[in-house]
Point group: C2
Chain length 365, copies 2
């Protein structure tokens, strides 16, 4: 079927669009009452994520409310370690937790790239969502990065100091490299299978890359993101599959990330988009990365007038994207710099999306 | 009395030293059994901080164990808002909490620069510690930055999303500016009074500056750090008082921080010290900032051989400091990139300090 709104994919490939496409990390989520209703029916987060009909339903919910320019698979970044046998669960009101953690030689020795059949529910959801979208907007698949998965696998849950994973990394770098090697191969296979199931772009979330020191970041996170990228399908059924990489807190490493073999770099709100464009955005007719981001999600707690002002400031900081229909050049995909908060008033999201579309059209006029 | 070890102060002023001075943020803390013993006697954290004898005792404890090159006042960054009447307390095993928070016009209208007599216990501790140090090493005084204090004042406690303070900032920037103006004047007066009581250097901890977006950081954090610096004593009793500024997560703003009227910039572990030196460290005979930091405190969970290796890597990334006895030039003060963890094995700190001293001497040879 023909894609009715291809702005997101065009912007990923640094092609001109009539407005700046926008989607929101975690756009299908708890801030939407209809999401909470579906989750209540599903009984648990994993009940929601593993049921194809529920996953399809919640993926489409934000698109029915807002004129967003892309859909993202509803799932969790921790499905891969769960399929490795670590036993993922979500206690009500808490973050993810694994039944087993990976902190010693014996636990590392047991790790292997999981059988993708254990993740069949994800690929079935991708196919189902593509069918339900019926060409409205493209569908983004995703995975956690090898390092980010390793953080959870070693810590066993979220952390505010990453003490266990960093202890392992600094004490036994050999074991950490072994985990990351397996994770990189698992993530690549997982994303390729999502692409084969219908994902039209894939995003790697290096949510915890920014907790690493300069030096260890390059060795333990970036190197393995690179290993994933090297294995990914670049096209499927004749369509180019853009690859997006987002390292939260990774703004200082932008020059090095600009060398990655991917199309789009995600940025958090600490980064100045104009400076980032200068560093890695490239020129019209030349190579470069599309940039995605980066408004502070907390702006959504302010009234619509404040949201509009801040949206304009973020769009203006990138500057007008290129408009040449015959060449590639600098482009911007609007997004938050992190997932949307569960406390967000839904009507404020409408104000944000409208402001992105209207101001970015005006900028091009 | 004469200072027996002036390496820290010399490095702050970009003067050559025979080894790189080292001290550790939160060096007097829970990882030391003797600290825990004193705290048990004091009954509570505030009982410890407000008792001059206890505060003196714990400030000197790490110096008795390790050949550190500076002492830092034992206190908390939240003493100033406590003196404003917000009611600071520390529940066992939890972070700080205020009885009152500041989220609306009425609460902001009640704020004022506190009477410094309410903070007399801090200044008395400074004087007592100076006396007890008897010239062994210099004493650093400190305060939270206006923005960091505002975070706690609005949130009422620590936060992982800074939702309330950012809601106020984005919705009512006028109120936020009013809070920050009062905080800046309070912090300047607080630090000046510490200097008058005997502090030989002062450090501003902008612990939460890094949670701000580019744009808001400059407007709501950096501008008020600048207002503090503009009011600080530059010397006391004929001695220059170096001023240190540390914005955790602020690496992207280093070029702008290089313009601050201060002597030293603190850096966290995400920053490459060699690049930072290139940006703001200056040349021999020219202006610039001394740099302080930046090893990941989690290295202290690894065995001594790993600690030594990482210390060398961090020292090497800065490169050899200048050694010209007749001119100022690039200097480095070794520190962690964040406070030391309560779970740190004390003997690992000894390995770190020894490695800094020995490797940095070898680099100069």
């Amino acid at each position: 079927m023909t894609l009715q709104n291809d702005r997101f994919l065009r912007a990923c490939l640094r092609q001109a669009t009539d407005h700046t496409p926008v989607w929101l990390m975690r756009q299908a989520g708890r801030y939407l009452p209809e999401y909470c209703a579906t989750r209540a029916k599903a009984g648990s987060f994993m009940g929601l994520a593993t049921n194809v009909d529920f996953a399809t339903e919640v993926t489409l919910q934000p698109l029915d409310r807002y004129p967003l320019d892309a859909a993202i698979l509803f799932s969790d970044i921790l499905t891969v370690p769960d399929a490795m046998g670590l036993g993922l669960s979500f206690a009500m009101g808490e973050g993810p937790r694994f039944a087993k953690n990976v902190r010693d030689e014996a636990a590392v020795a047991e790790l292997a790239v999981p059988d993708m059949n254990k993740l069949r529910y994800v690929f079935d959801a991708v196919t189902s969502i593509r069918r339900a979208l019926n060409g409205r907007v493209p569908l983004i698949g995703f995975s956690g990065s090898p390092w980010t998965l390793a953080c959870y696998m070693v810590e066993g849950q979220g952390s505010d100091d990453y003490r266990h994973v960093k202890t392992l990394m600094y004490s036994r770098p050999d074991l950490m490299h072994r985990i990351l090697e397996i994770n990189a191969n698992a993530v690549a296979l997982y994303l390729n299978t999502q692409i084969e199931a219908g994902a039209q772009a894939v995003m790697i979330f290096d949510s915890w890359g920014g907790v690493l020191a300069d030096g260890p970041f390059q060795e333990f996170s970036l190197a393995y993101t690179r290993k994933v990228l090297a294995q990914l399908h670049k096209s499927h059924n004749g369509e180019t599959i853009p690859r997006l990489v987002f390292t939260k807190g990774g703004g200082l490493w932008l020059p090095e990330m600009g060398e990655l073999d991917c199309e789009v770099l995600g940025l958090d709100w600490t980064v100045n988009l104009g400076k980032a464009r200068g560093l890695v955005g490239g020129q019209v007719g030349g190579p470069g990365k599309a940039l995605q981001g980066n408004i502070d999600p907390n702006i959504l707690f302010a009234p619509p007038a404040s949201i509009q002002k801040e949206v304009r400031r973020v769009l203006d900081s990138f500057g007008t994207p290129h408009t040449d229909p015959n060449q590639s050049g600098p482009t911007h995909i609007f997004n938050l710099g992190h997932g949307i908060s569960q406390y967000t008033p839904p009507e404020h999201v409408a104000a944000l999306v409208e402001a992105v579309h209207s101001h970015s059209r005006a900028m091009r006029a």
